[in-house]
Symmetry: C2
Subunit: 267 residues, 2 copies
């Protein structure tokens, strides 16, 4: 059982891993500094407990302690119990989710490890918005895509907001960074993935017509600029989602969800 | 051409329709008070100009005036030109999109008018989050759903944030409020729509298997609670999106996008 430690001093150094969550240069989830991983709220904390990210401590209110209950039974780390007011002073704002867990950032995973048994993966280029990254992982988890790979210029998936928007699924859907871009895509081709670049180009074939193979890797670029020419050239095939004229491209996480859905729609 | 009027006093009463955009009780887009409709940024302002929502004035910087250029050629309303600093004082925060347009809220449209020639419509119950409402309209516009109907307890689609997240598509995709709920669904049945309730229930048939009719109305409830029992009973059929075990339901706008996509995937 997690050991409960009651805290009433917001300056208590045992809470330092939870301090100043919104500080641009001191926040504990900043890669290159502490680089911790923060889970917020009962649902996401539960997902962390059920993931390879082992928390080193929790900070929360008495009612959240009760709500988590049995989920903490196996845990050998402290639960720092305090009031919402003390929590607000520590983290730097009022956090209405009432509980946080913190974990060390694990060593990065290798591409061949995360694609090992995957049939559907997404590969992102230039997706630098944490909410879009989070939504992408949530959609992957919900619709059975097994891994996410990062190409060039993407946002950190372990940033607090990405963890939250993903509903904790960044802690469970495996991801890895391609070591080179776009040449690093070769490892997918070597593993029999068809590399499909999503494009708004109306002359590209329909997404639904190019997905009927055993393994697919979906290349997705940011809203607006889309994929670079280098990435488009590196793909095996281009495909489009049928879109109405006079509209913008879909949000990138929504576009990914269409493609993931196409893989499972009759399952 | 819109008449340019240079303004340097943030207290100028001609700017009152743009004032205090984030004020809970004074914001100009509050239904029941002024109930105006606010478009932010070049893309959304352009959509407003190309919609039935006729702006009565614009407020923006000199550079946005130049960027809009020809789009203002036909417009017979003032463009209040000022600095980003004066704009910030007027609206109450720094608005980096640099231009706003304001329109009167039009009379509500009737259900039979908005479903007249539609083949795919969404009907929402309990969707009370403005971002989800906005994303729903964006996805409808992108994927060819022709109307959105509001059942019970939904957020105002003309709230500023909903307009922004929709990329302005709440100004173009027709919507209407059902006068009663859920009995008001009868008008859809009378117009030959199949009423399909989306549910996470694993025993429900697959969404892809129930959509092959001329007209479909998709019933969607909020994430978490989902549709009420009364709404489920009022539908013709229930259907599920195939989801992985151990995940949450998808975001409601994403779930709607799957269903819209199912209608156009081979188009």
């Amino acid at each position: 059982m997690a050991a409960v430690i009651d805290i009433d001093d917001p300056a208590d150094p045992r809470l330092d891993d939870f301090r100043d969550l919104k500080s641009a240069d001191r926040r504990p989830d900043l890669p290159g500094r502490k680089g911790l991983v923060i889970a917020e709220g009962v649902i996401v904390v539960r997902r962390m407990l059920d993931s390879p990210f082992a928390p080193t401590a929790l900070l929360g209110t008495s009612s959240r302690w009760q709500e988590l209950g049995d989920d903490l039974a196996e845990l050998a780390v402290p639960y720092f119990r305090t009031t919402a007011e003390v929590m607000a002073e520590v983290v730097g704002f009022h956090l209405n989710r009432g509980v946080l867990a913190v974990a060390r950032r694990p060593a990065p995973r290798m591409v061949d490890e995360v694609i090992g048994r995957a049939r559907t993966v997404a590969v992102l280029e230039g997706v630098n918005d944490h909410e879009n990254i989070g939504a992408m992982f949530r959609n992957a988890a919900g619709l059975g895509a097994e891994a996410i790979l990062f190409g060039d210029k993407c946002a950190d998936p372990l940033y607090r907001r990405a963890v939250r928007v993903s509903m904790g699924h960044v802690l469970r859907v495996p991801f890895a960074q391609l070591p080179t871009w776009p040449s690093g895509l070769d490892i997918l081709r070597d593993n029999d993935f068809r590399i499909i670049a999503l494009t708004p180009d109306a002359s590209a074939p329909n997404l639904a017509t190019v997905m009927g193979v055993e393994k697919v890797a979906l290349l997705l670029g940011a809203e607006g600029p889309g994929l670079t020419e280098a990435a488009l050239v590196a793909a095996d095939v281009r495909a489009r989602i049928p879109m109405s004229a006079g509209t913008d491209s879909l949000n990138v996480a929504t576009a990914a969800a269409m493609a993931f859905y196409e893989r499972v729609r009759l399952s």
